[in-house]
């Protein structure tokens, strides 16, 4: 069974702090997406990473795809209360072509 493990599972920080969320697998992914999901809504795509070692920035969010395309990280600089939500990684396993979601990281940023 392919798994995308995210850590930490829960994270509560003060506004202004930095944080990193990790997404790890034993499988190689042809691409990996990061989503944010608000309660009662569907996942909203933040970014897609494709190439091993790729780094993408989206304002205060920095996404990195591991060199071996088995892991990824999301770093948020100077977190704001509006960053609160469930962060999901998801990707296409390059061997099976199955699209799977990570276990999720629930972030709460306190004012």
């Amino acid at each position: 069974t392919q798994l995308l493990e995210q850590s930490p599972q829960f994270l509560s920080i003060q506004e202004g702090e930095n944080l990193t969320v990790y997404c790890n697998s034993s499988s190689v992914f042809s691409s990996l997406q990061w989503y944010r999901q608000e309660p009662g809504e569907g996942p909203v795509l933040l970014v897609t990473v494709v190439t091993g070692g790729e780094v993408k920035k989206l304002k205060r969010l920095t996404f990195q795809f591991g060199d071996a395309r088995k892991d990824s990280s999301l770093h948020i600089t100077a977190a704001q209360t509006g960053d609160t939500g469930l962060y999901l990684c998801a990707g296409t396993d390059s061997g099976t072509y199955k699209y799977i979601f990570g276990t999720g990281t629930r972030l709460k940023v306190l004012a």
Partner: protein, 117 residues
Amino acid sequence: EPEVTQTPSHQVTQMGQEVILRCVPISNHLYFYWYRQILGQKVEFLVSFYNNEISEKSEIFDDQFSVERPDGSNFTLKIRSTKLEDSAMYFCASSSGPKHYSNQPQHFGDGTRLSIL
């Protein structure tokens, strides 16, 4: 920006009844998907649909589930005889290309909350 729309937002049904969840994908998208998310658990793939047929389905998508694109705009998920464990959020998604093509990501609707009593 075009979006995927799902109706109803909340469906309450008696166990054993049939339910149809509806989705209107983004108009120029060709690939359609259903996912479910049981409360507090991760998003799980159910089925993908392309060219009027199922292209892939998961172990969850058993004989009680079916999908259909009855016209040019709607994409439906039918659960024939609902069980308590079918209670979940059901998300529809669409994309312009196959999911394993990285530059054609999936866009998700806001989901239908299905509650089986």
